[in-house]
């Protein structure tokens, strides 16, 4: 029993220790309320003879809520209760209030951003040198000379921005959920609403004369936008911000995040009715615009921290990014796979895809593809407008 943690004498009895343990789990991301502490105590009582193994299993049944927590529980349990006989300090006052703040990651080398913006999307980031560097270079050069003039970067004048906003508004309205199986009362519809028909028939002495109907309503899908504002996307950022504002204006429940090396909630700024103030708030957020990308990291943060509240099966997640990332490609696949399980649809709009002969060779983009419902070009306003049909089909 020497492995069991020694608790300081002034620490409370079992109940206090158990609530410390629950606190310990909360710090590690378990969603446990005060109610669970009570249940955990009851479970320990009901579990029979108090052996460490029985306590472990009983607490696991109460505290764990999904497969991922199930895998982590044993380590957390050991760290708290079986701390190799080390003494556990009395709990500091209310640690759980102060969230560990994430230190800003250093920007990726600016070369990455430049390379991406030039269209050499291939392997510049992870440098495993698998692709033929010379070939990529030539491709980039030709792309640049042909398409630059019609690129979104040319559309930074006010009319184009307004147009982008209008297009976004139409897109947002095009996304409807047609999967509803539930029925709503309606004046016209395919199915009879027997319950209301019968109720109405009472007025007519039991003759069902007034037929009431019901049908399946179309429900709006909520839109969640993630806009990449890193260096490689800088030229597109103004148009896309206008696009985002259009999406947000069309739908009250829409939410938006910007990311470069960090993830920033841009919803309040984008929904601000006062244009000037909105611009101020955005420019405050813009500190770090044009730096490197931490695409996979930011997606991971999003899934971890915001997805539970912002994303459900009736959500379309729209990611606006060129897919240039410094992290290993596997990470973005993993993050998207987790997002996939929560979200109704995931759409990736990639400004590079608008370029002729573009193939998603960037490792991150290639890893992301299997998890996407749609991978669409967004290089010109025409292409954005053409998305309406695609979105209506989602």
């Amino acid at each position: 029993m020497s492995r069991v943690t020694r608790f300081p004498a002034r620490a409370g009895g079992p109940a206090a220790r158990l609530s410390d343990f629950i606190d310990h789990l909360r710090l590690n991301g378990f969603a446990l309320g005060p109610g669970e502490t009570g249940v955990a105590l009851a479970a320990l009582t009901a579990a029979g003879p108090p052996t460490p193994q029985a306590a472990r299993m009983a607490l696991r049944a109460v505290c764990v809520a999904n497969a991922e927590q199930h895998a982590r529980f044993d380590d957390l349990f050991d760290a708290f209760w079986l701390n190799r006989g080390r003494a556990r300090p009395a709990p500091p006052p209310r640690r759980s209030q102060e969230r560990p703040t994430r230190a800003p990651q250093p920007f990726a080398a600016p070369a990455d951003g430049a390379a991406c913006a030039a269209g050499a999307a291939a392997e510049a980031d992870d440098g495993d040198g698998a692709a033929d560097a010379g070939g990529e270079g030539r491709l980039a050069a030709s792309l640049r000379s042909v398409d630059t003039a019609r690129d979104l970067r040319a559309y930074a004048d006010p009319e184009s921005l307004a147009e982008a906003e209008r297009i976004a508004g139409r897109l947002a309205k095009a996304i409807r959920d047609r999967r509803s199986r539930r029925h709503r009362a309606a004046n016209r519809g395919g199915a009879l609403d027997l319950r209301r028909t019968l109720r109405a028939s009472l007025q007519r002495g039991g003759e069902p004369i007034d037929l009431r109907r019901r049908r399946r309503p179309d429900r709006p899908m909520r839109i969640v936008c993630l806009l990449d504002v890193s260096g490689s996307m800088e030229v597109h950022a103004r148009v896309f911000l206008a696009f985002l504002r259009g999406l947000m204006g069309a739908q009250e429940t829409a939410r938006a995040w910007l990311f470069h090396t960090r993830l920033i909630d841009a919803t309040p700024a984008l929904t601000d009715r006062d244009r000037l103030r909105a611009a101020d708030r955005l420019s405050l957020m813009a500190q770090g615009f044009g730096g490197g990308t931490r695409l996979a990291g930011c997606l991971h943060d999003f899934v971890e921290r915001h997805a539970a509240k912002a994303v459900n099966r009736r959500t379309v997640v729209v990611i606006l990014s060129d897919g240039c990332d410094a992290a290993p490609a596997g990470e973005i696949g993993a993050a998207l796979a987790r997002l996939r399980r929560r979200a109704g649809r995931i759409v990736w709009l990639n400004p590079l895809k608008g370029w002729r002969d573009y193939a998603p060779t960037a490792a991150a983009m290639a890893a992301a593809l299997p998890h996407l419902d749609a991978f669409l070009p967004a290089a010109t306003l025409d292409q954005l407008a053409a998305l309406e049909g695609e979105f209506a089909r989602l």
Binding site: A31, L32, G33, G35, E36, V39, A42, A43, T45, A46, A47, G48, P49, Q53, A54, M57, A58, R60, A61, V62, V64, A65, N66, A67, H70, R179, S180, R181, R182, L194, R195, T197, L198, S201, L202, G206, E207, P208, A308, N312, R313, R341, R342
Partner: protein, 289 residues
């Protein structure tokens, strides 16, 4: 129930009815029964989630009420519905049919959830594959799982005459809401280890010889370590054993053709059938022997 070591008793009683439970699962089930909380079981398909509910019902001698979830499941299919056709007929046939008579128990169709709380004896309520139902349905469920009562506007509130033992199963088609998870105890059922699986085969299998049983378990365990889209579950393993017994195979390495023919019991996707070639089957069988 909360005897000296209730959960080991429970495990023994489950084993007596042919369900081999791991310690953690027995403890979770014991707590669910003692604390009166719903138990949420997660795990890959075919590890015995649904089977546990059936076994529990058999063991307690209780009725098993099953609600299979699917996308679009609504209150009318899960809780109650009025029998409109009969109501119409009653109104037209008898002149004295008034509202109170038509909206009475007589015309109420009970669906699984309402039925479960109106049983005289506590039944086992199995809510199968809850992750297939949509999120709104989870919200219905929250009300019933926490209060065990159903409100019917025309009839009033129907409270539970007995509190059902609720078991929910999910296999991760989507994430469940935290609100639902919080109301449940949780157990993750993994594929059984070798000893457990051998015990399951002995308890449930079609009486195969000990040597062949060892080979079957070893083979299936090895097969699960291959990169498969859909790993074979316990149910598949039992089918496999039954198929081998039916073909009169006494040793896995005896008849390669028969062995390969029985792979249809274990491999359930086209990609998996293509990946596990006869050579791979032979290699695995050779190692298991």
């Amino acid at each position: 129930m909360a005897g000296a070591s209730g959960w080991t008793d429970l495990r023994a009683r489950l084993a007596a009815t042919g369900y081999v439970a791991s310690d953690a699962l027995a403890m979770a089930l014991h707590l669910a029964l003692t604390l009166g909380r719903p138990l949420l079981l997660e795990g890959a398909a075919g590890v015995g989630k649904t089977e546990l509910a059936k076994t529990l019902a058999g063991m307690l001698g209780a009725r098993l009420i099953r609600l299979q979830c699917y996308e679009g499941l609504d209150a009318g299919h899960a809780i109650y519905e009025w029998n409109y056709q009969r109501q119409l007929l009653a109104i037209r046939a008898g002149g004295d049919a008034d509202e109170t008579r038509v909206f009475s128990q007589e015309f109420l169709l009970t669906r699984p959830l309402l039925e479960a709380i109106r049983q005289p004896e506590p039944p086992v309520l199995l809510i199968d594959e809850i992750d297939r139902a949509d999120e709104e349905f989870e919200a219905y469920l929250l009300e019933i799982l926490s209060d065990f009562q159903v409100s019917i506007p025309e009839l009033g509130t129907i409270s539970a005459t007995s509190r059902p033992h609720v078991i929910l199963t999910a296999n991760g088609a989507r994430d469940l809401s935290d609100a639902l998870r919080r109301r449940c105890l949780y157990a993750w059922i993994d594929y059984p280890d070798r000893a457990t699986e051998a015990a399951i085969l002995a308890a449930r299998g079609p009486g195969v010889a000990e040597k062949l049983a060892g080979q079957i378990v070893g083979f299936v365990q090895a097969l699960r370590r291959e990169a498969l889209e859909k790993k074979p579950g316990v149910a598949e393993m039992l089918d496999f054993a039954a198929a081998l017994a039916g073909l009169g195979v006494n040793d896995l390495t005896d008849d390669p053709a028969a062995l390969h023919a029985t792979m249809v019991c274990l491999l359930k996707t086209e990609a998996d059938s293509a990946a596990i070639t006869p050579e791979v089957v032979q290699r695995l069988a050779g190692r298991a022997a």
